[in-house]
């Protein structure tokens, strides 16, 4: 018991200590000296924090713009991916190919997708959501398909011996089995969705959102620090979404 609590404490203390050490090395410019960088290239943590505080209202409103596109696209894309996986499970012969198409779709570079979607949609928000939706479909389809088909041995035979029909097998056996895999898919998609939205904003015509601000503040020499502040914001938002999904996963784990 005692060693277990000790181990648990260590698993919190070690990463935190490492993080603090890293921050300290950055702040005291040790890292700058090693890689011979100037503070203009890699700003000190304190100045980034300062920028985060002074520009907070603007940053929050930009973050809201990006967040709404990310969450809408993430949910929509994951849902479509799940539908494709279900289709491939219910009709294995026909559906398997659709799964392959999904994976191929996944390998289209976001970079190529973003300017194209700007042509298709008249608003930047629509284009952004479309990009995020497309990049989220593949991972979810692959994971959901695995979850719907990696069943415990003999469970399918058991269902069949109960004379369960396809629909009952799907809802009573496959779907509950799939739940942990859905969360894995969602977790993979958080970072992808964020990247998709930011890249899409690089090309967007609208002048708001995290991606636009990163690109714009890097162009202007003395606003580099603001760009870093936006990057930190993007990372924080991704982590918050990730934490939310982890929380929901815990809740679901209690049931399934």
């Amino acid at each position: 018991m005692n060693s277990k609590t000790k181990e648990k404490a260590l698993s919190v203390i070690m990463p935190v200590a490492f993080g603090l050490l890293l921050l300290l090395l950055l702040q005291t410019q040790v890292i700058h000296r090693i890689f011979s960088l100037k503070t203009m290239q890699l700003p000190l943590p304190s100045t980034i924090f300062e920028a985060l505080c002074t520009k907070a209202p603007k940053i929050i409103s930009d973050a809201g713009v990006t967040l709404s596109a990310v969450s809408a696209g993430l949910l929509l894309g994951s849902f479509i991916g799940f539908l494709v996986a279900s289709f491939a499970t219910m009709l294995p012969g026909v559906g398997y190919g659709s799964l392959t198409i999904m994976t191929a779709l996944n390998s289209i570079p976001v970079l190529a997708l973003a300017p194209l979607m700007n042509r298709w949609f008249s608003t930047s928000m629509g284009a952004k959501m479309a990009v995020v939706t497309v990049v989220c479909m593949g991972a979810m389809a692959a994971n959901a398909y695995r979850g719907l088909n990696n069943l415990k041995p003999f469970s399918l035979d058991l269902m069949k011996s109960y004379a369960a029909n396809r629909r009952q097998i799907f809802f009573k056996l496959r779907l509950p089995n799939c739940v942990p895999y859905l969360f894995t898919g969602l977790k993979i998609n958080v970072a992808t969705a964020m990247i998709g939205a930011i890249i899409s904003e690089f090309f967007a015509t609208e002048t708001s959102g995290i991606g636009y601000m990163i690109k714009n503040s890097l162009k202007v020499g003395n606003q580099k620090i603001l760009g870093w502040a936006y990057i930190i914001t993007a990372a924080i938002i991704s982590m918050l979404i990730y934490a939310l999904i982890l929380f929901l996963e815990r809740l679901a784990a209690r049931r399934y």
């Binding site: 290239q41 398997y96 289209i108 970079l111 990696n150």
Partner: protein, 262 residues
Amino acid sequence: MNTYISRNEREVSIAVWVVGVMVLWELAAFFLANVIQDPMAEKKLPYLHEVVILFGQHWQSILKEAGITFTRAAYGFFFGAVIGFLLSVLMSLSKLVEKTAMPYLIMSQMIPILGLGPIIFSLVKDLNTARTVIAAYMTFFPVSVNTLSGFKSVDEDKRTLMYSYAAKKPQLYAKLMFPFTLPYLFTGLKIAAPMAVTASILVDTLSAKDGIGYKIVYSLYGGGTTGEFWPALITGAMMGVVSYAIMATAERILVPWRKDAE
């Protein structure tokens, strides 16, 4: 994994879908151009056969640029894979390293590295270094996480057997851990390869003068021959698929004992 349909059936299914998507594309292009009469139809979605013809006209320059991007992606991929592998070995050796590094590994994925292209560029000041850094950054995570899960799923019995033979750590790794982990390593490599390609394409667009990404953006904004946009776009997508296929083939050759590979 899937016991219901045979390999043959799968191939037929995939072929049917590929043809289906092609037909759908042609129909959608026709619909845009003639039913809705969208003035931008040709820019939004040109006919597939026109794209093929365009590819036929420009294939030399497109494939040349694609080759440049691909080779550069390979450098970053290689470094990322080596770093990821070493990291996973370290984490499997020491619980303390794993506990310290794991949260940062996950956090590192939350940083939108692709969006950081311009910043990395300003840090290292050299485009090809930036490319290697970004591609390596995208690669190391899937490799290290998958390899670590491979190390962790080595049977306890097998380890105990090795200990009973008084095997030393290097022997343990060489004879048991590495061979056992190979399939897991390849799972990571297969995920990472298209990501490295994407990273390389991104860096092309920053300010390079060549590469497929440059071609895509340049032709999109009409600076160059606009006809190259669609063929270049599809080539870019295909490069991801090809990189995956290369890893899958390498796996089949190097890990012949893994019969159930998808």
